[in-house]
Amino acid sequence: MSSSPAPPGIPSTATDPELLRAFEPVVRFTSGEQFFPMDVERYVRSCSLWLYHPDDHDEQVIPEGALTMENLTEPRWASFGSVLYLRFIRPLSIEESARALASLQRLKRNQKYGFRTGLGRLARGGLVPRLVDALFSATLLLRGRVPKATAAAAAVDYAAMQEGGEKYVYHGRVVRQGGWTICQYWFFFAYNNWRSGFHGVNDHESDWELVNIYLYEQDRRLVPEWVAYASHDFHGADLRRRWDDRSDLALEGLHPVVHAGAGSHASYFTPGEYQAEVPLPIPERIRQAMEALARFWSRTLGQAGDRQSPFRAPFIDFARGDGLSVGPGQEQEWTPDSIDEKTPWVTAYRGLWGLYAQDPISGENAPAGPMYNRDGSPRPSWFDPLGFAELDKLPPPPLELELLETECATLVARQEELDCLIAREAETLQQLGIRLESMEGNPHLAAQHEKLGKQVAELAARVKALRREHSENEGVLDGMTRRLERLRAGRRDDPRSHIRHAAEPVPPAHMRFSRAAEIWAAASLSLLLIGLVALIEFAPEDAWAGVVILLIALVLGESILRATFVRTVNRVAVILALVATVILLVHFWKPVLFGALIALAAFLILQRVREFRA
């Protein structure tokens, strides 16, 4: 007798800390990363506590050096609109800023893992995304933002902390919900330096990242089924991968491998460079006009539609996994710290874990803790870890078969009920119908005919709805029966069928632009502006014509470097042809109108002649 191998997992009698230890992830960082998961206590001890008041002034509540985990969680009165926040780096003078930046350079030189940008992000987008990027950068001047020297000082301070005792910490929590056992690994970083360190979207003090592992119990063992990583721009089911999905999920024994984005610390399943795009907020009317234009472009003009909006700024999240690796059997091991609803700093501190930069779109404001959103409301990933990865609708595998059988039986019963109901109602409908037919031709029965007509119409609609339900149920039942057969035969669903949008690194082949393209990407916008100045200065009469020629030349020149000449020349030609059509129509509207009318007349005559001859 052959016995099937036991599924991966650990005995269900394991304690929560043992459970967390058994599945703790391996996190692979990108070379050049300066911040790693740390314990909150060391961080808090080096912070000060502040309160932002709605009248736009900041008050220091507890100074640096006096802050402890105990006084952090003390209840405090604060008015509506105020924001409680920690401050890791105090405001720096010019001299301190310069010193911090110089120290960071020294630190980078001594780092084991250095960062190389590789292909510039600006070379990965066209001219319009570069313009959008310039606008996005300009908005940072208006929005609240974290100064670059703060990132440098944070890196230096963090490095000093690590020198005092190198530790890599996760804050682990075990939750039991809906038949699942969920291991949550919360990673706390002192700083997110994606913008200042890796040309990304934002910088902020403190950063929280999350990895969830979903287990079910079978034969007195806890078996891993799903893994979900927090990531940019992805939500729900797209965040999770099944344990046996080897196309995406890498495992080291029972430990899922996470590839952390450089500076952003976003988690990815596969190593690579991910293109994150920040769309420019466009007013609704302009968006509608653009959609109408896109429809005209593809439907009326028969052109290929563009999959991406040009109004986006391209950013790269480098999750190369070529730097420090932390986890079981790796260069560095984890120090676990268990948390739950009774952990005071988790529940009692609702403020931000770093600087409140007063950024209205929050990109540069520090996040709140694992349990709360920035506004102090409960964070869904804490109270609803199943919903976080859209697992709330899925039962654990051992319950699936039983649940499906019950559902099938319910649906079969409903179909039988519908069969009887439809037969009965259809018969009544025919009886009423024949009565209605019999009333016709009898003017004295007009009122009864109208009343019965309404009754018949209502009944017909009901019968139609019942038949529709029956027909739809057949389809559902068919699907459920096939799934039931698959489950009974021990066959599983496609592990990727739930994924709508998967985060995929940009393939290297798509990024092999020449050096010229890179230089061009960096210089083109400036060249355009210099060209404009030159035109206005040296040929003011022909400046507009010059601008048009300059723009077309820039766009076509760039398309040659980016190997998109065919697409670009086609677009430019069609736009010019449309402008030319308008000019021609304006100048020759009479001949065009007469020609169209004569052509229509000829067509109609031809049609009539054909009818006569037919």
Binding site: R299, L301, A304, V548, L556, V569, L576, T581, I583, L584
Partner: protein
């Protein structure tokens, strides 16, 4: 596409004849224009012949030509009030004939796997 090809060949012949006549006339004002037409004629002829055979380079040559021609004529119309409407109309026609997706696929400058060709259904049976 045949019509576009014929148009190009016709334009080549016209340019050639115009160029020769302009150069032979000895008129200095027309000399530069005549030389330009003589230079353009072989290009138009090549594009026309290539279009007969649905060559991708012929499509690219045509469109580049049209972009230059249309830019020239539009700017002359908007800023200098001296457009050649016939040239503008020919280029517009060529662009509208060559730019639809199906034509690009026929010329081999686009590949079917990269584009969505499906249209919304017009079958009334599909609407219910």
């Amino acid at each position: 596409m045949t019509f576009v090809a014929v148009l190009a060949v016709g334009y080549a012949v016209y340019s050639l004849v115009y160029g020769i006549l302009a150069v032979q006339s000895g008129d200095e004002d027309r000399l530069a224009d005549g030389i330009l037409h003589l230079v353009l004629a072989p290009g138009a002829l090549t594009a026309g012949v290539g279009a007969f055979w649905l060559r991708p380079w012929a499509w690219a040559l045509f469109m580049t030509w049209a972009v230059i021609g249309l830019t020239n004529q539009i700017l002359r119309s908007l800023f200098f009030e001296d457009p050649d409407y016939l040239d503008m109309a020919i280029n517009t026609f060529a662009v509208l004939a060559l730019s639809p997706l199906e034509v690009q696929i026929a010329f081999g400058v686009r590949h079917t796997e990269n584009v969505q060709l499906s249209r919304a259904t017009r079958n009334p049976l599909d609407r219910h």
